[in-house]
Symmetry: C2
Subunit: 179 residues, 2 copies
């Protein structure tokens, strides 16, 4: 700034009086930080990070999805995905299968190993959620779900609805035909 160095310190705190919903902003930050800390610890043992977790999770949730579809869910570039996906394939957590209709496509599937890791990562998160909802009524739970869903950009809510057993039965156009 170099304005003589005399910027006056403001000694009062921002409060809810400023018209900002500070409590939920801060709660959301702390909650998400701790929510991700559980899997982070497990991932460290594998030399993986959060990006691996997300890829593994959605491949397990939507087996057979293509690279392009995965990019669309994660909203990252293919170069970002390439690094982590390659590692997951090299370590035998995910396999690629050439697309039956369009042979340019690569369908992504978890292996038994990949399924096991995905579940191991989801377990502590699910437990934390379960504990957090202890004593909550069905209405409370529903309020939490509605809130979280409403926090998502409207264009993306469709994606969420298309996940299996989240309201939709199966993913359209994909034969989830049990191995």
């Amino acid at each position: 700034m170099a304005d003589g160095g005399a910027e006056k310190p403001i000694r009062t705190a921002i409060t809810s009086d400023d018209g900002i919903d500070l409590s939920i902003i801060e709660l959301f930050f702390f909650a998400y930080r701790d929510f991700t800390s559980d899997p982070d610890q497990i991932l460290a043992d594998y030399g993986f990070g959060r990006a691996h977790h997300r890829v593994l999770h959605f491949v397990n949730r939507m087996p057979g999805l293509t690279v392009a579809e995965l990019l669309d869910v994660l909203k990252i570039t293919k170069q970002s995905l390439a690094r982590v996906l390659k590692q997951l394939i090299d370590t035998g957590h995910i396999v690629q299968v050439q697309g039956p209709r369009d042979r340019r496509q690569r369908e992504l599937y978890p292996t038994a190993k990949g399924r096991a890791l995905a579940l191991a990562l989801a377990r502590p998160q699910s437990r934390r959620i379960h504990d957090a909802l202890e004593g909550a009524s069905a209405g409370d739970r529903s309020a939490v779900e509605r809130f979280l869903k409403a926090m998502v950009n409207p264009e993306l809510r469709t994606q969420i609805d298309n996940l299996p057993a989240n309201g939709a039965g199966k993913i359209a156009g994909k034969g989830n035909g049990d191995q």
Copy 2:
């Protein structure tokens, strides 16, 4: 893996039947991603990132806190903090004041510029929350707050309670004496 390359693909999706609370896990991921995207766009104009946002936010929420206290809130190393804090000081968003009792300490305060930016960053987040809670009852809102708080590690809940106008009046031991 090099086991002959024949890891069998699993073609079934993980579902709630696996005993995992998938809907909230996924909702939380998407919700947080979009929640942070609003300020991210503003920050880009300043050449700042999410780390700057967090520092700025808590300095505005707890003016006069020391470097050590800030590290304790953010749970990062001082080397990580140093980089972003230096930038915020150099750009005139934050000022340091030598601690009155212990002159080794640096109390951190926002400037008018820093306060303005903090509010500009909080505004879209607050609006998103407000919109997400549209049509929600007081009980719904309370359920959401209780849930988020319960998601935080128990040891850290005290920190949250000590933020001004989140249940506590003032920060213990700090004279928030209005400039």
